[in-house]
C-alpha cells in the first residue's frame, strides 16, 4: 500500500463500534415495542463484538475472538429466554408495550 489512500486503522473500527453502541442505546431508550428493544440490544452486543475482534487483531491475541464466541452463545441464550418471556406476555395482552411493564406484577 504505497499510494496515498489511508487504510482503515483499528481506531476507525473502534469509533464505528462506539457509534453502533450509541445507536443501540438510543434505540433501547426510544422504542416501546419490546421486540424492537431486543433488536437494539443485539445492536449493542454486535458493537462490543466488533470492538473485541478489532482489538484481537491489533493486539495479536486470539483471546478476543474466543470472547466473541462466548458473547455470541450467551446472546443466543438471552434472545431465546427473552423472546419466551415476551411471547408469554404478549399472548395475554397482544398490544403490550414497555410502558405496561407493571403487568409483570404478580
Amino acid at each position: 500500500m504505497h499510494f496515498a489512500i489511508a487504510s482503515p486503522t483499528t481506531t476507525w473500527y473502534l469509533v464505528l463500534a462506539a457509534l453502533l453502541f450509541a445507536l443501540g442505546a438510543v434505540g433501547v431508550l426510544v422504542r416501546r415495542n419490546p421486540l424492537v428493544m431486543f433488536m437494539c440490544i443485539e445492536l449493542m452486543l454486535n458493537a462490543v463484538n466488533l470492538t473485541f475482534v478489532a482489538l484481537a487483531r491489533k493486539l495479536g491475541d486470539i483471546g478476543g475472538q474466543t470472547t466473541v464466541f462466548f458473547v455470541m452463545v450467551v446472546a443466543a441464550a438471552e434472545v431465546v429466554v427473552g423472546l419466551g418471556i415476551i411471547v408469554s406476555i404478549l399472548r395475554r395482552r397482544p398490544s403490550a408495550t414497555a410502558d405496561d411493564i407493571a403487568e409483570l406484577k404478580g
Binding site: M1, S7, P8, T11, W12, Y13, L14, V15, L16, A18, L19, L20, A22, L23, G24, A25, V26, G27, L29, V30, R31, R32, N33, L35, V36, M39, C40, E42, L43, N46, N49, L50, V53, L55, A56, R57, L59, G60, D61, I62, G63, Q65, T66, V68, F69, F70, M72, V73, V74, A76, A77, E78, V79, V80, V81, L83, G84, I85, V87, L90
Partner: protein
C-alpha cells in the same frame, strides 16, 4: 481496497442500525437488523476473523433474526407502531443527549488512547503460508479447547438451562392449574 470495504460495511451497519430505530414496522426493523449483522460480518472478515464471520451470518442473521420474525408473525404484532406521537415529552431529546454523550465519551477515550495499543500476544495467523486456509479456525480452536475449556463446558449448561426455561415459559398451560407440576417433572 481496504478503505472501500470499510466504508461500504460501515454504511451498511449505520443504515441498518438507524433503520432498526426509526422503522415503525417490526418486520422492517428486523430486516434492517439483518443488514447491520451482514455489515459486521464483512468487518469480521476484514479483521481476519473468518470463523466468527461465518458464525455471525449463520447464527445471528440465520437463526436469531428468524426467531424474531417467527415471534412477530406468530403473535400477530406486525402492525405499524405510531411513532409520531411521543407519550413522554422529554424522552427523545433526553435519549439523543444520552446517545451523543455516550458516543462522545467513548470516541474521545479511543482517540486519546490510540497510541497505547501495542502487540502483546503471539499474533493472529493470517490465512496464508503452509498452515492452509483454516489457520484462523485452528488457532481459535486451540485457544478455546485449551485455555477456555471449562467456560466452554459451562456454556453448554447455560444453553440447556435456556432451552428448558423457555419451554417452561412459552408453554401453554394445558387446562387447570396442574400444568406447573407436570412441566417440572419432565
Amino acid at each position: 481496497m481496504q478503505l472501500f470495504v470499510f466504508v461500504c460495511a460501515a454504511a451498511m451497519i449505520l443504515v441498518g442500525a438507524i433503520g432498526v430505530i426509526v422503522r415503525s414496522h417490526p418486520v422492517h426493523a428486523a430486516l434492517s437488523l439483518i443488514l447491520t449483522l451482514f455489515g459486521v460480518a464483512v468487518l469480521f472478515v476484514a479483521q481476519d476473523a473468518h470463523f466468527l464471520a461465518a458464525v455471525q451470518v449463520i447464527v445471528y442473521a440465520g437463526a436469531i433474526v428468524v426467531l424474531f420474525l417467527f415471534v412477530i408473525m406468530l403473535l400477530g404484532v406486525d402492525k405499524a407502531e405510531a411513532l409520531r406521537i411521543d407519550p413522554v415529552k422529554v424522552q427523545r431529546p433526553l435519549a439523543a443527549i444520552v446517545g451523543l454523550g455516550l458516543f462522545g465519551l467513548v470516541a474521545a477515550a479511543i482517540v486519546r488512547s490510540r497510541d497505547s495499543l501495542v502487540v502483546r500476544g503471539r499474533g493472529i495467523d493470517i490465512a496464508s503460508g503452509d498452515t492452509g486456509h483454516d489457520s484462523n479456525i485452528r488457532q481459535l480452536a486451540n485457544d478455546l479447547f485449551s485455555n477456555h475449556v471449562f467456560a466452554f463446558e459451562v456454556t453448554s449448561v447455560l444453553l440447556v438451562i435456556a432451552v428448558v426455561g423457555t419451554v417452561l415459559l412459552a408453554r401453554r398451560p394445558r387446562s387447570g392449574s396442574a400444568s406447573d407440576t407436570s412441566a417440572g417433572s419432565k
